[in-house]
């Protein structure tokens, strides 16, 4: 049969396949983008001779050195997820010092190349604020130790080799240090902080050995809020517990003086609370009062004076010493679509060193942070450049009223990804364009032929490579025949949507979603998911697809939800619903209305289901399918899985016909003392499955149990939830379940003794593959479960099948309780896994590959054939022919099968596969701090010619053959004629 021949050929073609690419194919269909995330701290370093750089640390735990001229990354390190950077600084002019993991790890990195010089672990007793104090080393010859306060302990660490010179436990003294002051050249270190709610403490320590010289305490009856800001080396400002009084604390000659000032005295019509902003300006501090930022100057004798009052949304930089005794700081305010950068000196508020207006894209939102740096102009005056962090986490460098460069670092924190098709190509291309294209095309192909015939010079080879990489074909803004060009729509943690082109990874549009911005109703909004909202097929020419963004106003499941519908072509918000009911779960239903909008059920915290879109048509559709819609909830904390069904309309104060009550149908309660849910996986709802039958060797058939309502659950012993190795093999096990989510029936249950999580799993078609740790073998393991429908197995009468008299394609119900059998097998696997995905193709014919995100931040493609429970040690000839690989104890890792080849996707978090129109090919998008996109063909591109196929050569061959035929025909005619005359 044709299909058999096809499959056999397919198998033959892929049996020896290696999925690697050649060196010159890098960048042809893949792209890689490096990001750093939202900048937390920045330290400028302007080496006199070398390149100008800035060292930043970010919320993605990245330390990076950026080029100040272009914003490119010189070097970058991504620290672990639980190793957040607290502080960074530069010591000795050549080391970048980072304090991370809540003040317990201090590292020094070489500034030019980013190599780690030393690392010191600092231990302490109790968690506290972490402070890094690197003494300003102007002379550079003396080794002033770095002062680190973390976990309640003050350490002095040598900046040369990271050795701890001395340490002093300060929690014993009952002080929670807030500020460290070490005046230059002084032998005394001052540490100030609070001891309890009412007490202010000041300590003096010997800088040589950490000996406590003096310890003063003073009580303030109003209590402290815990915020403190230093105004000068001996003056501090704190606010009281009620946030209504400012307390000026001066520590002079061992005496602590408090001076109170009511904020209402300073600021007219003050009400509510004031928040002291951490800033390091001399003589000036700032407080945030509902919607405003107020600058207050400390004049002599503890008097406070209001200097300025500006709108909220302004950002202030730290002070920058520009010359002897002079400090400057930057202030950024918003004015419509412009931002106003003002650089002021510390001593005179009205003196503006720089005042620049910069045009700013409104999609970047508010300014969140600003860091300034100065340089000496040719005329010896001071110039300033400002590094600005925006609300969308982008990073910009502003100099002389212009944006020098910008980085879209919001893309380092992608939450969710979906895809959208590009517009259909509209006809009507100008002749000139075609002619030019034709010429280019010909030129390109002539070069290509030269390349194939090895006639090209090195320059031409480079040109060929350039043409291949810069092909305008792949970055066009229209749909292509193979479906390679698409839009990747990503939602970032900043609440911004980006549309990336799959051809070259450029940002097509971006939108800062207003509902996901901080507002009065929404205190700390977060984006949750994106769904495909409308995918037009019938009117693809004149209707745009759109996506649905679901968010939540605050952390916590009962916070009100936020919905927004965005046009995928233009990036304009079509519709948004703010602060609706809470959203715990979103269920995209398999129904669309007449405008091809997909129906969604939003489940709130009270287990009510809300229909969206709220139209009458949607109601009528759902009423038709009412009895067949189920939903389930997984309560991981309680160890319960519940199944629910829609019941009737809600009874609320305001009648709402789009709201439905639900009723519990079934529940699976796991014993809480022996099992805890750690992972659940379902099938992707849009996965295409080609066939329900699996043909085995000897023409046997097994029917796959292909159900969309299959749930894989992995449970471990509650003890074993910690890190690997925290329990012994005897007291740890892993239990896996396959559950039908309509009826709550457990289809399969299996226990792995002596195994532990974390479990990473993927469910596709009728199989699930999961990864866990085997404590007995001290290795990671991967297991596969395949599930087959036994009740269909007796469909073996050929004549019935030939005549179509079978019920294999009639709709089935989960309530028919089909008998199932499972086949399982386990293998050792070398890598630690971060995430697992599986390739998906348009029709589901192509064989599948597992995409494994490894701990090394790479993506490994592993053929599903290696995870086939029918593998045996000695497969028979027929089984071999079928493609069954002899069983080995561990899964092979071929270096060529890394999808990411030499690249790393730092901080890898997710892998998304999207089918292309071409059946053989799947698009793979990997995201983390970096982004990586490529397309892979698990069984090779059997349905298209390769990229480097020379059409021109083919054309020339055909023309040459035709010419040869014509010439020989003429010859033979002539010869025949001569024969006849003879």
């Amino acid at each position: 049969m044709a299909i058999k021949v096809f499959l056999l050929l397919l198998f033959l073609s892929c049996s020896h396949s290696v999925f690697s690419i050649y060196q010159d194919q890098v960048g042809l269909m893949d792209w890689h983008q490096q990001y750093i995330g939202k900048v937390k701290h920045a330290v400028f370093h302007t080496q006199k001779a070398g390149r100008k750089r800035v060292v930043v640390s970010t919320e993605e735990n990245v330390i990076a050195s950026l080029d100040l001229r272009s914003g490119k990354i010189f070097w970058r390190h991504v620290l672990g997820a639980d190793d957040a950077v607290d502080e960074i600084d530069i010591a000795l002019g050549k080391y970048v010092i980072t304090l991370s993991s809540e003040g317990s790890i201090l590292r020094a990195w070489n500034l030019p190349d980013g190599q780690m010089v030393w690392e010191t672990f600092l231990s302490g007793s109790s968690p506290s604020k972490s402070i890094l104090f690197v003494p300003a080393n102007l002379r550079g010859d003396k080794d002033n130790p770095i002062l680190v306060y973390g976990n309640g302990c003050l350490h002095a660490v040598s900046s040369i080799d990271g050795e701890v010179v001395w340490n002093k436990e300060l929690t014993v003294e009952g002080i929670d240090v807030q500020e460290l002051i070490h005046p230059l050249g002084s032998d005394v270190i001052y540490a100030v902080g609070f001891g309890g709610l009412y007490q202010f403490d000041s300590c003096q320590l010997n800088a040589k050995n950490g000996e406590l010289l003096r310890h003063e305490k003073a009580e303030f009856p109003g209590g402290f809020s815990g915020e403190i800001s230093s105004v000068s080396s001996d003056t501090f400002v704190a606010s009281d517990a009620a946030h209504s009084i400012l307390v000026l604390i001066s520590v002079r000659d061992g005496a602590i003086n408090f001076q109170q000032t009511y904020i209402s005295d300073l600021v007219q019509d003050f009400s509510g609370t004031a928040v002291l902003l951490p800033s390091k300006l001399t003589g000036i501090f700032s407080i945030k009062i509902d919607g405003f930022v107020v600058f207050v100057k400390v004049i002599d004798e503890g008097k406070l004076e209001l200097v300025d009052k500006i709108d909220h949304g302004a950002a202030v930089s730290d002070a920058l010493p520009i010359s002897e005794g002079q400090q400057a700081f930057a202030l950024i305010q918003h004015e419509g679509n412009k931002i106003q950068l003002t650089v002021k000196t510390g001593h005179d508020w009205d003196d503006d060193l720089v005042k620049e207006g910069i045009k700013m894209d409104c999609e970047r939102g508010l300014v969140h942070k600003v860091f300034i740096n100065n340089y000496i102009r040719r005329d010896m005056s001071h110039g300033f450049r400002a590094l600005i962090v925006m609300e969308d986490h982008s990073l910009l460098l502003v100099q002389q009223g212009e944006i020098v460069w910008s980085r879209e670092d919001g893309l380092a924190s992608i939450i969710d990804v979906t895809t959208s098709e590009l517009p259909v190509e509209k006809h009507g291309v100008s002749v000139a364009k075609v002619e030019q294209n034709l010429f280019e095309w010909l030129k390109g192909h002539v070069l290509k032929i030269k390349g194939t015939l090895m006639l090209a010079s090195p320059d031409e080879v480079a040109e060929i490579q350039r043409i291949r990489l810069k092909s305008s074909e792949k970055s066009k803004m229209t749909r292509d025949h193979n479906g390679f060009r698409k839009l990747l729509i990503v939602l970032t943690r900043a609440g911004k949507l980006f549309a990336l082109h799959t051809g070259d990874g450029r940002v097509v549009w971006s939108l800062l979603l207003n509902p996901l911005r901080e507002s009065e109703e929404c205190s700390s909004p977060i984006g949750l998911k994106i769904y495909q909202w409308q995918v037009p097929h019938h009117h693809a020419m004149d209707e745009n697809p759109s996506v649905l963004v679901v968010g939540r106003c605050a952390h916590g499941l009962d916070a009100p939800g936020v919905l927004s519908v965005v046009d995928a072509y233009t990036g304009k918000e079509i519709n948004s619903l703010g602060a609706v009911h809470s959203i715990v779960e979103v269920i995209p239903l398999p129904f669309t209305d007449s405008t091809e909008q997909r129906l969604h059920l939003l489940i709130d915290a009270n287990q009510r289901a809300h229909l969206f879109p709220k139209t009458h048509e949607a109601i009528s559709i759902i009423q038709r399918e009412f009895a067949n819609i189920y939903w389930y909830s997984v309560e991981a904390d309680n160890g319960i899985i519940r199944g629910h069904v829609l019941k009737d309309n809600c009874i609320l104060e305001v009648s709402d016909e789009y709201c439905f009550n639900t009723r519990d149908l079934w529940s699976i309660v796991f014993p809480s003392e022996s099992e805890k849910i750690i992972a659940t996986v379902t099938r992707k709802s849009n996965e295409a499955v080609h066939t329900q039958a699996k043909v085995m060797a000897e023409q046997d058939v097994m029917y796959k149990y292909v159900s969309k309502n299959l749930l894989f659950v992995a449970n471990v012993l509650p003890k074993g939830i910690g890190k690997i190795g925290s329990v012994t093999p005897e007291e740890s096990w892993l239990v896996v379940y396959l559950i039908d989510t309509v009826t709550g029936r457990i289809l399969h249950r299996m226990t792995h003794h002596g195994s532990q999580g974390p479990v990473h799993a993927v469910l596709s078609e009728n199989w699930v593959v999961y990864h866990y740790f085997n404590l007995k073998a001290h290795r990671y393991e991967m297991s596969v479960i395949e599930i087959y429908d036994q009740s269909r197995a007796d469909n073996k009468d050929i004549w019935k099948l030939v005549l179509g008299k079978h019920n294999l394609t009639s709709p089935i119900s989960s309530y028919s309780r089909p008998e199932v059998i499972t086949k399982t097998q386990s293998y050792f696997f070398t890598h630690t896994v971060k995430t697992i995905a599986v390739t998906s193709t348009a029709k589901g014919i192509t064989s599948k590959q597992l995409l494994i995100g490894t701990i090394g931040d790479q993506v490994l493609a592993l053929d599903k054939r290696f995870l086939d429970p029918r593998r045996t040690v000695n497969p028979s000839q027929v089984e071999k022919e079928e493609g069954i690989i002899p069983l080995t104890d561990s899964l092979p890792i071929m270096p060529q099968s890394y999808v990411t080849h030499i690249l790393k996707v730092e901080g890898l978090r997710g892998i998304v596969t999207v089918p292309a129109k071409l059946e053989s090919t799947a698009l793979v998008f990997t995201y983390g701090v970096d982004l990586f996109f490529t397309r892979i063909a698990p069984s090779r591109t059997y349905d298209s010619l390769t990229e480097d196929f020379s059409y021109a050569l083919l054309l020339i061959t055909i023309v040459a053959l035709l010419a040869a035929i014509f010439v020989t025909w003429v010859w033979s005619e002539r010869k025949e004629l001569q024969e006849k005359w003879r």
Partner: protein, 177 residues
Amino acid sequence: MEKGKGIGRRWAVDFTDNSNAPSSRDVPDPLGFSRASLDQDDSTLSRQKKDAEANWKAQKAWEVAQAPFKNLLMMGFMMWMAGSTVHLFSIGITFSALLQPISALQGVGKVFDPYKDSKVDLLAPKLLFIALNLGGLALGVWKLNTLGLLPTHASDWVSSLPPAQEVEYSGGGMPLY
């Protein structure tokens, strides 16, 4: 002539009359001419000739009818050589083994046309020819089957059946964070 053409032939003279039968017209034979004796004389001579020819034709027809047998043997040998895995060679041989008998069967009449004779009974050779070719065809089909290219198993009919639709739909999972 111009006119006559339109009207048709008015008369015609037939100069030859070589019919054996007595003249169809009412003209009697010339005196002394006995048509029968001439006939007799001629027939004794030609009967021998014709018998020989018929024999020869029958012999040839049998030869032709048996020809596919050799073919069959050769085909069998080739098939044995080709093995039972699907590749270009075995597919080519199998298809030629299938096509050859079919084309031969289509041209059964033509093959035996030269040996058509009222005296020769061609039915038996024809039947043999057809039988042998059918044998060849069967061999080809058998080969096709050994290659696994015949849809004789249930698997051949269900391998492209799409999965059955499900009546119920269920969604949900862990709460979104």
